[in-house]
């Protein structure tokens, strides 16, 4: 979900760029050169995800995956999504150049909150909790973005009331689909390569094989 050029008012565009600058400064603090490739992978994924279509009824929607970005990258999800939006604006006018700030806050903010939800899993212990919290995070990402988009439209003027309502309604199926896909994906990553997940804590090892295993990894 993007907002296009030419709709929002000047102060809102400025607020978008300001918010993006602040969030980028916070989330990119102490960023190491070695993190660049991993963040870029997710940016490219975020970009490519918009080409993966999922059928619903007679129509289809494409994946957004900003929640999943939070699940994998944590705080760095914000710069990753911001760069994805910049590239989308430059490469195929998806969104637009003047709304890069607003779109970054919208999608990246969803990613950050998804990370918050994802981290809550540490307080629980049950089987397949990664699937459940991955799904919650995936849904949160899109839901928050939809809410921010609707709010941006409403603050622009009351003539956008109907559009904002339509936008929110259109988000409902996307939230459900994103949640299911992100849940399965988080479960898959947990089984196959758990180190990729943000905030991954390896299970404590029994004393007798601790040494050999830590050497092996």
């Amino acid at each position: 979900m993007h907002i296009s050029d030419g709709i929002l008012s000047g102060p809102l565009l400025a607020a978008g760029f300001g918010g993006t600058a602040v969030l980028a400064a916070i989330t990119m603090r102490r960023m190491d050169m070695e993190e660049i490739p991993k963040v870029s992978v997710i940016t490219a994924m975020f970009f490519v995800a918009s080409l993966i279509h999922v059928p619903i009824g007679f129509s289809s929607v494409h994946l957004i995956l900003n929640g999943l970005a939070g699940v994998v990258l944590g705080m760095r999800a914000f710069p990753a999504i911001m760069l994805g939006i910049i590239l989308q604006a430059i490469l195929f006018g998806h969104g637009g150049v003047s709304v890069i700030g607003v779109n970054s806050v919208m999608m990246g903010g969803g990613g950050l909150l998804a990370y918050g939800v994802w981290q809550l899993r540490h307080y629980f212990s049950f089987a397949h909790k990664e699937v459940v919290f991955g799904a919650l995070a995936g849904g949160t990402g899109v839901l928050v973005s939809g809410l921010i988009l609707a709010m941006a439209l409403l603050t622009t003027g009351e003539e956008f009331m109907a559009t904002a309502g339509g936008v929110l309604a259109a988000h409902v199926p996307i939230v459900i689909i994103e949640a299911i896909v992100a849940g399965y994906c988080a479960g898959f990553l947990m089984r196959v390569k758990p180190h990729l997940l943000a905030g991954y804590k390896p299970a404590p090892l029994a004393n007798d094989n601790k040494e050999t295993l830590s050497k092996a990894s």
């Binding site: 660049i36 940016t43 490219a44 994924m45 490519v48 689909i177």
Partner: protein
């Protein structure tokens, strides 16, 4: 859908010869100025300027149309939603729904501005090789780490698309058909996970190879930017257009399509 924005950057044109630093800065200013316009005639003027830019850049028509078509698709609903939902004076009723000319005017303004901005962005980034545009961004004091990530991502996007298409072919060969059910979503979830792991492991290999060749967070280039008089003239012309558009808009020469926007 081919995504490489710079596949026609070899075509010689006044825009290609323009120093990319000046081009990105002044046309970026133009884009922001256009985003703030409130009157339809000025929005149309901005679109004309953008079309002139496209013409000067000499980019093939199908390339530009391919870029604009997504924007147009996104904008079409506004022509229906806005007139039917605009608060205030209602001119007539269409199929029992209130139809306001003001809403239609707003939709026209939005479309004009959006198309003008996308066309401008296409000419800016379509008339130079992508790495040169990014180098210009860096010279314009864009943080180095952001420029590096943009370059990495731009490269990865094409690699991942190829990887994704390979995996999709493999899935089809095994008889997978997308349906609207939970099984499909599960397969797609695993598909995304696999794509992530494969991509990540690939970039790790690439990164290690780059480090072993002496990469230290910067790409070196033989490109040297050298501004000449013409670069300044072109930038000044664009800035004059922006000031004219913005001034005419602020002075209220034309009736704005939106009241109480600010």
């Amino acid at each position: 859908m081919p995504l490489d924005i710079d596949r026609f950057a070899h075509l010689d044109s006044p825009l290609r010869r323009w120093d990319p630093r000046f081009k990105i800065f002044s046309l970026g200013f133009f884009v922001l100025g256009v985003a703030l316009i409130k009157a339809i005639p000025l929005g149309a003027a901005a679109l004309v300027v953008a079309l002139v830019l496209v013409g000067m850049a000499g980019l093939p028509l199908h390339f530009v149309v391919g870029g604009v078509q997504w924007v147009v698709l996104f904008l079409l609903p506004f022509f229906v939603i806005m007139p039917l939902s605009y608060p205030g004076e209602v001119a007539l009723h269409v199929a029992g729904l209130p139809f306001a000319w003001e809403g239609l005017r707003l939709a026209v303004l939005i479309a004009l501005k959006a198309i003008a901005i996308v066309l401008t962005a296409y000419t800016v980034f379509g008339s130079n090789r992508f790495d040169i545009s990014m180098l210009a961004l860096q010279r314009l004091k864009c943080p180095k780490i952001i420029v590096q990530m943009l370059l990495f991502t731009y490269r990865y996007v094409f690699v991942f698309l190829a990887e994704m298409q390979r995996m999709e072919t493999a899935m089809r060969a095994r008889g997978f058909v997308k349906k609207a059910d939970r099984h499909t979503l599960r397969v797609i979830g695993n598909f995304v996970g696999t794509l992530l792991i494969r991509s990540f492991e690939r970039t790790e290999r690439i990164y290690k190879a780059m480090l072993s060749k002496g990469y230290q967070g910067e790409f070196h280039t033989l490109v040297i930017f050298k501004a000449v008089g013409m670069d300044w003239v072109k930038a000044a012309a664009v800035l004059a257009i922006v000031i004219f558009l913005f001034g005419a808009d602020a002075a209220g020469v034309f009736k704005p399509a939106v009241q109480d926007w600010y």
